[in-house]
Amino acid sequence: MDFDLSDEQRQLKDNLERLMAAEYGFDKRTAYAASPHGWSRELWATYAELGLLAVPFAEADGGIGGGPTETMIIMEQLGHAMALEPYLATVVLGGGFLRHGGSVEQKARLIPGIVSGETTLAFAQQEKQSRYDLADVATTARRDGNGWVIDGEKGVVIGGDAADHFIVTARTAGARRDHTGIGAFIVDAKSTGLSRRGYVTQDGQRAAQLTFAGVKVPASDVIGDSAGALPLIERVVDEGIAALCAEAIGVMTMMHATTLDYLKTRKQFGLTIGSFQAVQHRAADMFVALEQARSMAMFATMMADDSDARERARAISAAKVQIGRSGRQIGQEAVQLHGGIAMTMEYNVGHAFKRMTMIDRMFGDTDHHLARLAGLGGVIG
């Protein structure tokens, strides 16, 4: 039992903390968000130079061979800065499909581009009707000679407006919500028949709606079993949720710290508002919520690569529930304790609150994961 970071991990954290402090001030972030891609290509290149984009990949594939703890460290720092770059979409999710399901040829083809910063990916899964059910796939892929033809629509593809490749889930057999008959495909964003409509999300990120009209995909772009990809999808999404939990910790930590600073400086009735007990107790409750969430983000990190899918699912759902609850409380309280200033687009807490709110809607909200956890028999052995 050891909660300490290794020297290398501490160094990774410190380096990234310094970089974010220098490059992610409020005005710079606003400028990145307003740029054509909605994030900084320059910073993305810096991430590549620092090796951040190589972290989870095996050394044999050109990566660094980091584990869930390294991903946690990075995501927490990105969350703290509310970074806009598509790290989750490209490295954690896209990279996850390649690491856990990709062929030798697919890895060799795509990982070098990810690591160098030239290639970004996005995970195209969400459909109009699917809500949070990963098995609810109406987009179809039918055989066409050696290859496949994809038809359908994907709605909320985070990071999708600038991605070079998509990992697309599509039904190869069976009925809409069957657990078998689902495949995962690598699709080039420039493919004929694929149209994309990019848009801005509530939290200032970018996403896309994708329409597939007879998009041809060669056999070499199927990831793993064309009819049995659901376990792979679930594994990658579970890792994605663990990463998202870490990001949320960064966002919550920033909101709590910013709120405390405000309580210590803002004066009303001739006193700092932090001297009022009604306010102190709410700040204390935010701290409790934050520590509980931090504990569960660590737990999710520990369980993210567990080989027992059921144990992993219990842990990940439990973590997502805690993050959702703590995040809502801390976000709403941060806005409330600031008062009017946090209602504006000119102050970082409002942006963090928006990001936190959207995190709860990704890969299953609190209610979804509570129901899933209840169905799995809870998280206490």
């Binding site: 909660f3 290794s6 409790v288 520590e291 569960m296 660590m298 737990f299 209840a374 809870g378 998280v379």
Partner: protein
């Protein structure tokens, strides 16, 4: 960062688990599971079995009978103990008074009191709260006036848990009436057989009689029973209360309760299905489990940090453990009442004196409503949850 127990820690856990399962009588442990109260003899029996194994005072230094365990081992021991249903080694002796004496008492006092405290040959109780001194403990009014080689103690203590069994009481008394309120307090050890002491039991809302008022009427206490320096008692009390918070998450207790909930919710039916299959109930239970899992990890973080901070110094973040630990324990008592539904209404058989009639409710229903009533105390004792929020606001957040 490796949050899994090491192979050595797992071996230790298995050893401890085996000990409780085989050495502490099932008849005692089952009382916890079934929600019944311990008799004095249950607590003494369990304590002495642990003492014989050298495990009654794991948190004490080795020279005074401690185990030399790491903080993680101590945590594992306590969690296994709690999950087994065994009574803890008497907290007033082991967690509260013992560490104060080890830290602040004279060698003569240590030699006199600690061995019998460790073996539970002496049963200790706590004399801190007073009718007018609850959260504002330092406003206590019980006085100890110096008269030659003795103090003469007058006043009243209250909420003295299990004081009816006690041989000794450790008290906060006012020795300087002129000083500022925290500065005139001393820590005094008083033999409960001393003339002038009266113990009156208080019946609590669960029907039990675990707390008492203790009255002091010209009670003469030898000066040699003063711990540390006169008028420094508040420092020792703060030390004691800080230690008290460390064990207060009671993760093992809540884990045991969750298992009991699952057991009874599978047994009791709601229409044509067991209650556990009612989605509303299952989700309520899952929500408590999430909080408990998070608390377990938070507790482990506090324990692991102790290694870096040095043992004995309480972490102000342990107030988080008190707040969440109490909320979760209380939530488990509500879930159990939800399971029993209308059968949580009748008084249990053993609360009705000498009745030979068949019980009205299933026998496992008896302790459930009383536990709900009784466990409201958890967010009140050891520093109310509001006091814990004050501690977090000041000591952690700097407000």
């Amino acid at each position: 960062m490796d949050l899994r127990f090491s192979p050595e820690e797992i071996a230790f856990r298995d050893e401890v688990r085996h000990f409780f399962a085989t050495q502490i009588p099932a008849a005692i442990r089952n009382k916890t599971i079934e929600g019944r109260k311990f008799e004095k003899s249950d607590i003494v029996t369990a304590h002495k079995i642990m003492y014989a194994r050298g495990w009654a005072t794991p948190n004490w230094p080795k020279e005074w009978g401690g185990t030399g365990w790491t903080p993680i081992q101590q945590y594992i021991f306590m969690e296994e103990l709690q999950q087994s249903g065994s009574p803890q080694p008497l907290q007033f002796n082991v967690q509260m008074c013992g560490p104060v004496l080890i830290q602040f008492a004279s060698e003569a006092q240590k030699k006199r009191f600690l061995p019998r405290m460790a073996s539970l040959d002496d049963w200790w109780c706590q004399g801190f709260s007073e009718p007018g001194a609850g959260s504002d403990l330092a406003s206590l009014k019980t006085t100890a006036k110096r008269d030659g080689d003795t103090y003469v103690v007058n006043g009243q203590k209250t909420w003295t848990t299990l004081g009816q069994y006690a041989d000794w009481i450790f008290c906060l008394v006012r020795t300087d009436l002129a000083a500022k309120k925290q500065e005139g307090i001393s820590f005094l050890l008083i033999d409960m057989k001393t003339p002038g002491i009266t113990v009156r039991p208080i019946q609590t809302i669960d029907g039990g009689r675990e707390v008492n008022e203790v009255f002091f009427d010209d009670v003469r206490v030898p000066v040699e029973n003063l711990v540390g320096q006169e008028n420094k008692g508040w420092d020792y009390a703060k030390f004691l209360l800080g230690n008290e918070r460390v064990g207060i998450a009671r993760v093992g207790v809540s884990k045991e309760r969750i298992r009991r909930i699952r057991q009874l919710a599978a047994l009791e039916r709601d229409g044509d299905r067991p209650i556990i299959e009612n989605p509303r109930f299952a989700e309520k239970l899952a929500a408590v489990e999430v909080e408990l899992k998070a608390l377990e990890m938070t507790q482990l973080r506090v324990v692991a940090a102790e290694r870096n901070r040095g043992t004995g110094k309480p972490d102000p973040a342990s107030s988080v453990l008190k707040i969440k630990g109490s909320e979760i324990q209380q939530a488990t008592t509500e879930l159990l009442m939800d399971i029993m539904g209308p059968y949580s209404i009748p008084m249990a058989d053993d609360d009705m004196d000498g009745s030979n009639e068949l019980p009205i409710a299933p026998d496992y229903a008896g302790g459930i409503a009383p536990a709900y009533f009784n466990w409201r105390k958890i967010s009140i004792y050891g520093g109310t949850n509001e006091i814990q929020r004050n501690i977090i606001a000041k000591a952690v957040l700097g407000l």
